[in-house]
Symmetry: C2
Subunit: 716 residues, 2 copies
């Protein structure tokens, strides 16, 4: 036994060396060694071989994934077997024996075309775990589900699992430019190495697809919404095709952003007017050309007439004219158009929060069937907290797609630990009241509220070519959580955190419990130290790195923080009631009424909807000023708590990730203090009230904070 | 034994999984498992423990490196032992017992302050392998040397090795910008994550230092020669300091590029005139400020009055005035100035190849003692082939530092397999004849030719944040080879290739022999398919990606390829003899005379020095046109051979690196054909001669090649 011990310890040693820098790269697919003897016995008894029914690239990658996991879980292969007891069988419905198909009839009725069933059945007379679905991609999703069960250390017994996605288009949006810079990217260069495509296929592309398929993401928009028409040229279509071919077995469709002026820039036309016949033909030809190369091309995402991008308004045409023209071009091929509702005009004096609603609601019902209107979660721009966008529920005859931002443009870049599924969940759970109580945003998005067939959720990716994909090790949780919520928008963010922690680090409860709590609180923490009580958009210019409530010199009024907080000696906050911009009128009555008075407005949205005096008395009997200070301070203290929690985790985490998170938390703490000190010093000028005694002496003067310059903050 | 076998195969399996994506990252420090039983026995008998004399960060990293290697070689630790037989002892000279110091007196006389001795000695009465030197860094270099011996599978017996670097400053130049883009970088973003420094210390920084120390590189210029003065601000100095602290134990000094106009941009002065007292004081204060934070700061690298960079000429001052002002600022701290000789003027009608010589030779002897004049290997700009720069040997009273380019700006980016040490070696071996025969460039550089104390060699790095550092797996060999030649400019490039292949892949001769041959031929191959027979600088504009011999529309005449090849119906080539620009006069007589006639000019430099008729008869009796075509064709065919050679290597290489190199070779082949077809079609317009029958029909017309656009080719 001494030999065994020696060799085993040798093995551990090798693992320790070689898996060192791989941990971050392997995301939530660590497939940590199963060391619990009972559990190992259960798994290896229940699954003693694998049998694949039929043949397809997707089945192949399902089987490969099983092998990868087996080698990592158990240090051995999962043998292929043609028959016998306790075999894992993978195959789609129509590959099953007729009798089994009959037996499973009611199970198959429970799932949609992408759904899966994992069930213990008799197969050719033997006890078998069957993974099946109506499509090969269903089988792949089922395979990842089984592996997740094992990663979560759930015993395999009396398996009877089925699940289907509740949303159809589960899509990452990459704001990646063709020069490999990434707008709002904080994890290095773009993973798309355009220059070397289509000839160099990097292993990262496959691993990207694996990771996405494992959480059910089925689409990726490769290019920035601030689009470059070059990607629609023949040369680039070949590059896109190469990526599409890597992604296809994993059920991932590629999409591109379409620059509206492409017919001029690429086609040599004199106009991009959507009602011009030549223009319409150009887009049809372009679609035909793309689909000839990429038969399962997803379609286009379009940012039009927004922040300088060209669009139909340039020709006196409407968003409907623009979207429907493109929809017509891709419709014959089964493609869709994702048309962004993120539109506001520098020439429109109306409250920016109201403009998208004003622009789009009149068009309800006019968009083609294959158009999704892509709406950000809030009406401004991916703030640490926003009320849900008033468009949700306001366009019952138009399928609305949710746009979340996974990359943390306004939430501390890849430096701050913020668990975003908590933010996503908050929006999805909000009640729009448009069809009475329980008309949640989730029901708008999954189509159940007004019976929509086409549904979608987009997440602006936080992925770059950093070795661990997302820069911050915990940024991976936001990618993971987005995928899980796109699959099922009713999921609990706590469950997501727990799954992710176990799959990414360890199942040890001493680690999982405190870390889960920390993750769930982390979003409220960032709100506190950045924009408490409904404050919003007070970040610095351009890069949005750090506090800039004083900024007032930008050319467009609605780009200035002062536009949003409206602090003066009388008070602070944006009056969006009827005495102000009346953005409230865009919400259904129960909300509009409730939020019309500060007393009945949730405190988290207070300054979003109301301009209130500094000495306004809040529910706790303290002034607004006192409460604001108190929130900023709580935010800082909570980050301090996070650093302590993490320090206790050292024994559960590999050194590389432990050290990295430790250092990043120190940066987060430093920056939380920066936010507190800069904002309180700034607002104090207007409140003219004393700093509460619990606020430490600021490290610097307000002038110091105003004069800070960081021209190379990333992601612009 | 069955158990053992099982566990061992399990172990192999784990290794295979976990080391998969790590191979590229680990560079030439793979420390592959020692599987040969005899060899393992030799190593484990000879070294049964380790003992460290004294204590220092550098000794610590030496010991850590031994442990890393031991775990990887043998799957176990190297135990620390205080005494006994067959211990490895690490310690510098003054830590050794007096008697041993005496015994080794003559050995120590063989080495300089960075040198090392590895010798079997009696230590406290026991047989011991001693690694020692006059400094801790010597011990570290010795440790890496011993590990190299083991990676090369050399038996440890009667060890008596000593070595010292022949060049003092062995420096990488990173053309990295503060926004993380890299000028002429083809391996992703900059590895310096400026935004998160000094607070986030990435493991990549340590591994970068390890890799450099293992080949003796002892300095790194962190920033682009096209410099940004922001890096000299307090905020950035803190960031630089953080890197310096990571690098210090590895003996690596940091340097920065100094933008000459910094006193204006950062200091608020009205001038940067080097003779202005305020300016001089500003630089002194700046140096004091930097050295207060980084006591071993290396100094500044300066590109002045070159390609738009500001410099002393802006104030009517000379390069000497500029360099000596900076030299004075850093001298009290032991710093140096590396002043680039890469200077040419758009207003000077003189042959660009002559201008640096004309500018600098008159200043010979006038530079301060701590100034190195940094001269590119050739007089134009890092071409696939250039004659050595005429400055080498022409400034006997000025220490000249060699500047090689490791990144392949003009040699196929990170896509073409080109083993650059062959190019470096060619330059170093050239005879300048300035002190009679055997006055090689190497002797200029290592100071022996004219007794220089300060010596240096710079390499423009090919490193980025790609997972394997350099993009092309074989790009690592160029980084490695540069380091080896900076340590010893007389090394044989074949030996370098062999070392690198064994350390990076495998010692198997079936692999090493053909691959070594392929690497050694690869440089001549790229010359053939890009710029044969002395052609040069005929790449496309800006990015230099692909052939552009037709380009003639750039604002500065000497930026146009037509300036360099001067093709017309009468012939092709740049007449640099007395009938032309007479650049030849800048070389010593034996060269100037020999090269004055095309008959005695080496054919590799023919069109560099001569404008010759298309039907000029060359040594093989064929015309110049025929020979040009034949070279281009040979280049293509040699790349075809490379792909075949590589295909035979599949069994020796992990799948990831094998596939990557295979794909890259296919791109190289495609681009070699592009070069051949575009250049021959272009030159044929002037030669008006038939394409030799061995040239295949070009894939496209000349117009097609002229119209190719690749605006996002990387590295600009």
């Amino acid at each position: 036994m001494k030999l065994k011990k020696l060799i085993l310890s040798t093995l551990t040693l090798f693992l320790a060396i070689n898996s060192f820098s791989q941990k971050g790269y392997d995301l939530w697919l660590q497939y940590n060694k199963i060391t619990d003897a009972q559990l190992q016995k259960n798994y290896l008894n229940k699954i003693q071989g694998i049998k694949i029914l039929g043949n397809s690239p997707t089945l192949n990658v399902s089987a490969e994934e099983m092998q990868t996991a087996w080698k990592s879980f158990f240090g051995k292969e999962l043998p292929e077997k043609n028959s016998g007891e306790n075999i894992l069988v993978l195959g789609k419905m129509d590959q099953l024996p007729q009798q089994l198909q009959k037996n499973l009839k009611s199970d198959f009725e429970n799932i949609n075309s992408e759904g899966y069933i994992i069930k213990e059945v008799k197969f050719e007379g033997n006890n078998t775990i069957l993974i099946t679905g109506k499509s090969h991609i269903g089988v792949l999703y089922g395979s990842f589900r089984l592996l997740r069960e094992m990663q979560l250390h759930n015993k395999l017994s009396n398996l009877d699992i089925y699940d289907s996605s509740k949303i159809q288009k589960r899509v990452l949006n990459h704001w990646d430019n063709l020069d490999r810079t990434v707008e709002r990217g904080y994890a290095g260069f773009s993973i798309w190495d355009w220059h070397l495509l289509p000839d160099l296929i990097k292993p990262e592309y496959t691993n990207y697809a694996r990771a996405n398929a494992s959480i059910g993401i089925n689409g990726t928009v490769l290019t920035n919404v601030n689009a470059n028409s070059l990607v629609l040229t023949e040369e680039y279509i070949k590059k896109v095709k190469a990526l599409a071919e890597v992604f296809r077995p994993y059920g991932i469709q590629v999409y591109l952003t379409a620059r509206f002026s492409s017919p001029i820039e690429n086609g040599g036309l004199e106009t991009a007017d959507p009602l011009n016949e030549e223009v319409r033909q150009w887009w049809k030809d372009k679609a035909d050309q793309i689909y000839a190369e990429i038969p399962d091309f997803g379609g286009f995402l379009v940012k039009a007439n927004s922040e300088g991008q060209p669009g139909p308004n340039n020709y006196g045409r409407s968003h409907v004219d623009g979207a429907n023209m493109l929809a017509e071009a891709v419709a014959p091929h089964g493609g869709i158009i994702m048309w962004r509702a993120f539109v506001y005009s520098e020439h429109d004096p109306e409250d920016r929060a109201k403009q998208a609603y004003s622009e789009f609601v009149p068009f309800d019902g006019e968009f083609a069937d294959n158009v999704l209107l892509q709406v950000k979660n809030g009406a401004i721009d991916f703030q640490p907290r926003e009320p849900f966008h008033p468009l949700f529920g306001a366009m019952p005859n138009t399928p609305l797609m949710m746009e979340f931002q996974i990359t943390q443009e306004y939430l501390g870049f890849a430096t701050h630990l913020v668990f975003l599924p908590k933010l996503f969940e908050e929006t999805l759970e909000e009640d729009t009241y448009v069809n009475g109580e329980n008309s949640t945003v989730a029901k708008v998005i999954d189509g159940t509220l007004s019976n929509k067939k086409l549904t979608g959720m987009a997440g602006v990716a936080n992925i770059g070519n950093e070795r661990n994909w997302t820069g911050h090790p915990f940024g991976q949780a936001n990618w993971y959580g987005f995928g899980r919520l796109a699959w099922d928008p009713y999921m609990d963010s706590g469950d997501i955190a727990e799954e992710w922690l176990k799959m990414t680090f360890t199942n040890n409860e001493e680690f999982v419990e405190p870390m889960k709590e920390m993750m769930l609180e982390s979003r409220e923490t960032v709100v506190k130290y950045m924009t408490p009580l409904g404050l919003h958009h007070i970040m610095r210019t351009g890069h949005h790195y750090g506090p800039g409530p004083w900024v007032s010199n930008l050319s467009r009024p609605e780009w200035n923080p002062v536009y949003y907080h409206k602090a003066d000696s009388a008070g602070v906050g944006f009056d969006r009631t009827s005495s102000g911009s009346n953005a409230l009128e865009q919400y259904a009555d129960p909300i509009a009424e409730k939020y019309s008075s500060p007393e009945t407005t949730p405190e988290k949205y207070l300054l979003w909807f109301h301009h209130l005096p500094w000495d306004y008395e809040m529910k706790n009997g303290k002034t607004l000023w006192y409460n604001m200070a108190s929130k900023y301070q709580e935010g800082v203290e909570e980050v301090e708590d996070m650093t302590e929690t993490w320090n206790n985790m050292e024994q559960y985490v590999d050194e590389e990730r432990f050290e990295k998170v430790s250092m990043l938390l120190q940066i987060q703490l430093k920056e939380a203090k920066w936010w507190r000190d800069a904002c309180l010093l700034y607002f104090q000028q207007f409140s003219n009230m004393e700093m509460p005694e619990f606020i430490p002496e600021p490290a610097h003067t307000l002038e110091y904070y105003k004069n800070l310059k960081t021209p190379y903050a990333p992601g612009i």
